[in-house]
Symmetry: C2
Subunit: 540 residues, 2 copies
């Protein structure tokens, strides 16, 4: 921390009045814009340079005021801009590029599984929306309705999709006739709208968000079951391999499963600073509920009329928020190399010992070599900022590696490399620098996952009684507890824990990896015989 | 045509009652679903096979009943499914893959120009929407309004974006302060909604559609002007290089330009069968109108407060519809190789002279070689359809090349290749078949553009008087006519032509390539001195 403070002080942070156009006053910030009120710590300029430098720093500490810290990180890190429709956010290029990385990975993988992309409409008729009763009950309160076009009232209000089961399945019933039409595996990348009234948080909970939704139909349950897990494994890989965020795979309780589905599997992440679990992505087996309501039948080999088995599965831009929360530090974002829009930033260190042009030429050669090796490189030769300001700026944006090149480096054919994740510094020869840097990026990626996994593991505790459970919970832990697996008991636990300011606890999942459950073990809450271990926690 | 008829007769088209599940009656088709009423021409099965074959053929002729033909082609070609919200369509995987091809091309090109992708919200506050007066007048009648969430009325209705100028520019005003923040070049791939009441047509006019919208800001007008044309050139390339559709570049008249902008450039395509022009994509210079309304100022080098110059530009899924209309024939879709989801389909011709397994093995080797060469291949070894049925099926879907492999081909190490665009047949050696097929795909691509260009060119005529103009128009031509370039005169022409059943004519553009305009030439309509040649036509 002290190093951070020192750096901030070292950097010139004087407000550059001259660079700010005297525009008229903008709209008053809405209540979910705390970040705008925060000013970066400002120090007087040293007066050495004509053009003064200013930077919005991260003033909040991750451990002290997590929500303010998060808000500063996503705004000053140029991921998010606030917007005048409450609960909606702008994804700036820096975060949208991360979404593109996630998309590229996942899209290629599902195509290998034979899934095809399509696009279904944004709007759902009321008739289709309300067809599956449990499903509509789960979503109805959050549905946005279009009732007017121009100045005319629509004959019937039309819903904006909160998810597309009811958009797609009437058509599935038309497309699927024979066993030869199965499996049907579709996916779409799109926006959905859920008009929630809980506090919105960028990426984590917003009224509009981007996601992929897969919708598949099979002749048999085993095929559907198998796909549920294949997709869940891809979700695990998105988190662990791309975002370096450890997740726990498991199955949701009856209370927490998808409305209208048969069972829901999930990958659950954990935010250490708030002690909260967070649902990463879910892969649902819908069973035959929707098939029945939407009449999705097929003739099997023996010409018998059968209902299909269906799955749906979704991964949203929430992924990005989880990654920020897990890895970010008091300097700002810390991006895993695989998802970083820029993996390496090259900064020249001007000096009277070398002509700046010559120095920059050396930098450009390195940049070219890295690009040829497939590394995403940014070169920062701006002359109106000092190196220290640039260091802080790129640290705030989370770029995994910084390469500094000064006159001595040019002479000794090496560069200084600084890791964003652990601050480690090293000198690397310019010979084969493409390979060296690619290896180092792999090391960073791996090491970020390992660190996050260690931290997460240290925050999961077992509890066998109510007192142990509450103690762990209030110590910001996730709790593995033997459970009777009864809906009413989960409801009671929610009720009993919600008195606390931090909110109610619930099951995150029943992990696939179960500790031993000796005969006679009882539920931590009900005292009834325990059926399995469940992972409990407060959650987002 | 006779060949088509013969083929249809040759193929078994008996309805396969056994393959149709006895599902309950579906929703009544809406009025824009003419395709559903059309049945394929049906012939009695020949009784030779146990599993009978059925296929929805294209019964309408492109020259006789264009709109029915189009509707059959996009539905039976599995591009579009109709939907129960009027004016909204489902993009099936076959057409969505085409959109992905267009995206991949265009996205890579704009990234080279330094444009970055972002994502702005679907919703616009009323306050922002109405800020630029001309702009809102252009869009207001088509705006869909969300007024309700769940059962609660919203405090203020929220518009669904018809385009994102008013979504983005309040933020531009925040982000842009100094000349160092310019140029700002953003793009997003998203859905937009325009609740039009004209007849909807798949791809061509729908209430929700997919597009990209670029929004850029510059310090000077020349920079903006230059980008307008750079983007327009990319649009030309999407049409001509990817979709093999010839377009005419030009500038829109005052009456036809973008609401609120300074000037609009366009690429205009032509549909021969209806004699109508169709706007392909537009690249607008917005001038400073929006900058003024949204207060987008910057300080230039001399610390003077200046307004930015802005552009916006968009390309939609309409591209796909234009391509279908231009290239399709009475057998169905004809896809240019660059946009075809499948470029080559391999069909084995079973025979008593060879074991089917052996034959299929040969096919698979060819398929692998083509895939290794980067060709998109589909293999159709279905045993419940005869080759003739498969031929028709893949022709209907527009696959550019069909490879047939029978016992003789295996023996002589060759394959039969049939072109979809001109029906040309040839035998190609299996040696270096990857290269041969790639070359042939290039030939097809080029030849489709040439053919479409010849046809288009033969339908543009010059007219110097009203009579010539009307004669050409009613002969389904586009008309190049000398024009005084006065708004009122275009309005008069619209008025005078709209009596005709085919609808009003308007300017499509004033082409950049202008024929000579000798001094003293007068406007074909007003008789005033002509200022330039304009391209007129009825249009979509």
């Amino acid at each position: 921390m002290d190093e951070v403070e020192a750096k901030v002080a070292e950097v010139e942070l004087a407000a550059d009045a001259g660079e700010k156009a005297p525009v008229a006053k903008k709209e008053k910030p809405k209540k979910e814009k705390p970040a705008k009120k925060e000013k970066a710590p400002q120090a007087a300029g040293d007066g050495k340079k004509e053009v003064k430098e200013t930077q919005l720093g991260i003033s909040a500490k991750k451990d002290d005021n997590f929500s303010l810290w998060y808000s500063q990180v996503v705004t000053h890190g140029e991921m998010i801009e606030y917007y005048d429709v409450s609960g909606c956010y702008i994804l700036r290029p820096w975060s949208y590029a991360m979404w593109e990385s996630i998309k590229d990975f996942f899209d290629a993988e599902i195509k290998k599984l034979g899934v095809k992309n399509a696009y279904f409409p944004l709007f759902v008729s009321e008739k289709a929306l309300i067809k599956e009763k449990d499903h509509v009950e789960g979503f109805a309160p959050e549905v946005a309705w279009v009732t007017r076009s121009g100045n005319s009232e629509l004959e019937e209000p039309i819903a904006v999709r909160p998810t597309s089961e009811t958009v797609m399945y009437p058509i599935f019933s038309k497309w699927i006739r024979s066993h030869r039409d199965l499996p049907l595996k579709l996916n779409q990348w799109c926006n959905v709208v859920r008009w929630e009234f809980k506090d919105p948080t960028p990426f984590i909970r917003s009224r509009e968000f981007l996601w992929q939704e897969g919708h598949t139909a099979f002749a048999t349950k085993p095929e559907a079951d198998e796909e549920v897990l294949a997709i869940l494994e891809l979700y695990r890989r998105v988190y662990e391999e791309v975002l370096a965020v450890p997740v726990i795979k498991g199955i949701k309780s009856e209370l927490e499963k998808f409305a209208g589905g048969l069972y829901t599997t999930t990958v659950e992440a954990f935010i250490r600073n708030t002690g909260r679990g967070i649902q990463g992505a879910t892969s649902h087996c819908l069973g035959q509920n929707f098939a029945k309501m939407f009449e999705i039948y097929f003739l099997n080999d023996n010409r018998e009329r059968k209902m299909v088995w269906q799955n749906s599965w979704g991964l949203t831009t929430r992924t990005i928020g989880v990654m920020v929360m897990v890895h970010g530090d008091d300097k700002g974002l810390v991006l895993p190399p695989r998802v970083a829009p820029v993996q390496v930033v090259i900064i020249h260190i001007p000096s009277k010992d070398i002509e700046t042009n010559v120095l920059i030429e050396s930098c450009k050669e390195i940049a070219k070599e890295l690009r040829d090796a497939g590394v995403r490189v940014e070169e920062d030769y701006r002359d109106n900022y000092k190196p220290g300001w640039k260091f802080s700026n790129w640290e705030m944006k989370g770029v995994p590696l910084r390469i500094e090149i000064g006159p001595k480096d040019v002479a000794s054919k090496q560069v200084k490399v600084v890791r964003r994740d652990d601050g480690g510094k090293d000198f690397i020869s310019v010979e084969n620098i493409g390979d060296s840097i690619k290896n180092l990026l792999d090391v960073v990626q791996k090491s970020m996952l390992e660190k996050a996994t260690r931290e997460r593991d240290s925050c999961i505790v077992q509890a066998r009684s109510w007192d142990e459970f509450m103690a762990a919970l209030n110590n910001k832990k996730l709790v593995m507890a033997p459970w009777c697996d009864e809906k009413e008991v989960e409801e009671q636990v929610k009720e009993r824990t919600k008195a606390d300011l931090s909110g109610a606890a619930k099951t995150l999942c029943m992990p696939f990896e179960q500790p031993e459950l000796p005969e006679g073990t009882v539920c931590f809450s009900s005292g009834k015989p325990a059926k399995k271990w469940a992972l409990w926690g407060r959650s987002y």
